[in-house]
Symmetry: C2
Subunit: 250 residues, 2 copies
């Protein structure tokens, strides 16, 4: 890989539940003046996928539990949002200082189980993560790959905080057509010693690179990452979830 | 930002303590056929900086403490390496299952306090993190910026694991001439609601993008990230360390 580029996809309109994201992205890519090439990785932020898939929720329909009411009152939060976060969590990792870090149904560990109030479909709605982000990625892969007649990959991203470090980075929550982890185990350095760096989280590096051009709040929810075609192959984002028994921070 | 590219810098020779990294990188950039442009971010992996700065250590000189001996025996590790890791740590975050996650002198939290056995200077040597990675970045910025007559930034990277996710990503451990965090607080979405995504860890996204072309074990320890010049400015990697009182995972 001598050069890898992230190219912003502009002209993606506001989405509503039921919209077909594939044709919308195809048109946006065309309107941006881009063309899908062999080896391209199409990166799409979770929010537009969630909206198209109808993973939005009217907060007026939510009745908060006593637990949600208590946490919301203590920390000045909307109890309906807390209730949705708790429902979207299969396990709570931390719930303190107004912050909920939890594990989603697909094993992602993140703030608020991915429930998001900004840029939702309508006021007083929230967006939820796609039910099966890998399946969403596969759907887009089939649709856009077939349309363009190209071999491509798709990465769905969300923007996560991390322990110990300030700021958020885009990470891969759904993957299709890409090897998400590059396994260097068994390789050695120039002196024949095993490499300390063993497995590279390629799909997260792709997501982070795309994150530089998918500017938040500027309506750029998608990008093409070009130049990483050597890593196309089989894979899913589920492979990137560390098994709890190997994790020191659950 | 419509496009951001990461360009591999080839032809960086093996380094030894005392080598002047600035001129070596200038020559490698030339030999690769690249030219430094205004707004470029020069990304350099920690290991070559550490070697040039003499941050290498002969394990033969290390006498392990009883604590290092005990942990090494229990987990089949080299007690001299464990001893160096403990010395480089100002605080241990986790020390179990053969893994040490600790805090370095500059507040980075990572495996083995950044002590690395692969690609070290000589057999039986380890590399340590630069004493002051921001200062190392500033030094390279002055040298390469002045040489090229361009306004650039420098990011020093290391490859870190993360809780909950498999695989390693490149992160920024030293920054000069770049705003490492992009603060979106106060901005609103199209409907006037505050953005959920508040602060972007730009320098880490830059590091991750560069990480795709800085292939481990292939002797590509540096890259140019081009197209992100709008974010050049004042900054340091110390800003990216979350204060302990705000951290739920120390």
């Amino acid at each position: 890989m001598d050069a890898v580029s992230a190219l912003a996809i502009r002209h993606v309109p506001a989405l509503a539940p039921g919209d077909r994201l594939g044709p919308i992205l195809i048109e946006a890519i065309r309107a941006t003046g881009l063309e899908i090439s062999d080896g391209d990785i199409l990166v799409v932020c979770q929010k537009v996928v969630s909206k198209a898939e109808g993973r939005v929720l009217d907060l007026a329909s939510v009745v908060p539990s006593p637990r949600a009411l208590g946490f919301a009152r203590e920390h000045g939060k909307d109890p309906r949002v807390i209730e949705v976060v708790l429902r979207e969590s299969r396990r709570i990792v931390r719930m303190e200082r107004g912050v909920i870090i939890s594990e989603t149904a697909t094993g992602l560990v993140c703030a608020n189980a991915g429930v998001d109030c900004s840029n939702a479909w309508r006021p007083d709605f929230v967006t939820l993560l796609p039910l099966d982000p890998d399946a969403s990625a596969r759907g887009l892969l089939e649709e856009l790959g077939a349309h363009a007649g190209r071999r491509i990959a798709v990465v769905l991203t969300d923007t996560f905080g991390r322990p110990w470090r300030e700021g958020l980075v885009d990470v891969a929550i759904g993957v299709a057509g890409l090897r998400p982890l590059i396994d260097l185990r068994g390789r050695t350095d120039l002196a024949g010693r095993p490499l300390e760096v063993s497995v590279i989280a390629l799909a997260d590096q792709v997501a982070a690179a795309a994150g530089m051009v998918m500017e938040k709040g500027e309506g750029i929810p998608a990008a093409i990452v070009r130049g990483a075609g050597a890593w196309l192959g089989q894979g899913s984002a589920v492979e990137m979830v560390r098994p709890p028994e190997k994790d020191l921070f659950r």
